[in-house]
């Protein structure tokens, strides 16, 4: 698994025949951050899986851009990014571009970005794009959703004795769980991510 941890980066990968790339992008730090990834699936049967976790605090801007070019036949790609936003001026943008070229028959691709707004004043922009130049494919899909952990949900947890910050931590951990499972992160990596998210929630006054 290739990793881009808590830093801005611009990476370009070219995959050959049957080559597999697993990539994890983590943005749990406090600095503004921009990560730009481009993957060319040039070899037949190559496969890329990209996972992203990010958490924007008040005033922080996190930008992600993912481009996957399906050039050869029988390639697969899967993209899953999840982000939490907490605090006034927390901003994230996510742009996904999956291009299925005219020779990329039997392509299987899915891109997903989900965002969770934990407070007022945060904004998430999410734009998954898909360009298909051949109709002879297995699957091509995209999904984008931005949900909110609202006052009523917070109240419900609090009305059972759970304090506000613990409630937020539970919700964000649950939200990130899908990535933790699918990306098969080890205990140390999980612990580090949970430590960072708890720190970010604890820092809010």
């Amino acid at each position: 698994m290739d990793k881009i941890l808590n830093q801005s980066a611009k990476k370009h990968y070219v995959l050959g025949e049957n080559q597999v790339l697993d990539l994890l992008v983590v943005q749990m730090h406090d600095a503004d951050c921009e990560v730009d990834i481009k993957v060319d699936l040039e070899g037949i049967g190559s496969n890329v899986n990209i996972f992203g976790i990010y958490f924007a605090s008040a005033g922080q801007i996190i930008q992600n851009r993912v481009v996957v070019n399906h050039i050869a036949p029988k390639c697969t790609s899967s993209i899953l990014y999840k982000g939490a936003l907490l605090g006034s001026g927390a901003k994230t943008s996510w742009d996904g571009f999956v291009n299925i070229g005219e020779n990329a028959v039997n392509t299987d691709t899915y891109e997903t970005n989900r965002n969770l707004l934990l407070s007022e004043g945060a904004s998430a922009v999410s734009v998954p794009n898909l360009e298909i130049l051949t109709g002879d494919i297995v699957r091509a899909g995209h999904a984008s959703a931005t949900g909110r952990f609202d006052d009523q949900q917070l109240f419900y947890l609090m009305s059972r004795g759970i304090d506000a910050k613990t409630a937020q931590k539970l919700i964000v951990r649950g939200f990130f769980e899908e990535i933790i499972q699918n990306a098969e992160l080890d205990d140390l990596e999980q612990t580090e991510i949970f430590k960072q998210l708890e720190r970010k929630i604890d820092e809010v006054r």
Partner: protein
């Protein structure tokens, strides 16, 4: 035995509507001087027409967002310690002993029912439940409420039917053992069998925890299962008549119209 007590004193509450960010927040007075005293192990039923403020009373005691106490007080005495709840957050009230079973329980994605309950139990008791007995207690209680075990690992109330949500509320009531339970139309939307199952759960919890209960309802049917010590008629934001369980029977035939004119 030393009794715990929940007192509502001359309580006036406004509903605050912040929906229009640019406008002045809209405030509307709903509760207009409510007085009520509930001791442990007592059941008080509050009956009244739609829109009379019954749910506002429940929400105000639990500390729900969007309600502002303009005057009066809510006073809780537990184990000889007396405190006002008005300035406490909802979680502080819950840890002090208040439990609200919601009319339409909120769905929360991202946390399973069992994880939620264990976290709540830990918060209320101040210590984590015993790992060896916890799962058994949870599953046994679910079985009594005729809930499939699989609900424990599902996201909290997400995709639950109306009846399943009500069972899940009573599951929480049984596990968390509060000092005072406010049940806001727990009977609404339940068929006859489900009503009995849910009421059995409430009675079990009450026998176990000896809590005082505030039962909000439109119908007398639930009162056949859970016998009230007091019945109060609520209209236009206040209690207009109080009596014993015979008052509920009278209301069944006379209706609420006499109180709303």
């Amino acid at each position: 035995m030393k009794y715990d007590k929940l007192e509502v004193v001359d309580l006036c509450v406004c509903v605050v509507n912040n929906k229009h960010a640019n406008d002045q927040a809209q405030e509307k007075e709903i509760l207009k001087g409510v007085n009520l005293e509930i001791n442990s192990d007592e059941v008080h039923a509050i009956m009244g027409p739609n829109g009379s403020g019954k749910s506002t009373l429940a929400a105000s005691i639990a500390g729900a967002p969007g309600y502002k106490v303009t005057s009066g007080d809510i006073i809780l005495t537990v184990d000889g310690k007396t405190q006002s709840l008005v300035d406490l957050t909802a979680d502080e009230r819950a840890r002090a002993g208040i439990f609200l079973a919601q009319q339409s329980p909120t769905a929360v994605d991202g946390i399973t029912l069992s994880n939620f309950l264990r976290t709540a139990k830990t918060a209320i008791d101040g210590v984590a439940p015993n790992i060896r007995t916890w799962i058994k207690e949870l599953y046994d209680t679910m079985e009594l409420l005729k809930m499939d075990k699989s609900f424990a690992s599902r996201p909290l109330n997400v995709g639950f039917s109306g009846g399943e949500k009500k069972r899940a509320e009573i599951l929480q009531l049984e596990i968390l053992r509060p000092k005072f339970a406010i049940l806001d139309e727990t009977d609404s939307g339940l068929d006859v069998d489900a009503l009995k199952t849910v009421c059995d759960g409430i009675n079990r919890a009450k026998t176990d925890a000896k809590f005082g209960a505030l039962l909000i309802t439109h119908y007398t049917h639930i009162l056949d299962y859970i016998k009230p010590d007091f019945v109060h008629v609520f209209a236009n934001g206040e209690i207009v008549q109080s009596g014993d369980s015979t008052l509920a029977k009278k209301l069944e035939t006379s209706g609420y119209e006499q109180y709303t004119k």
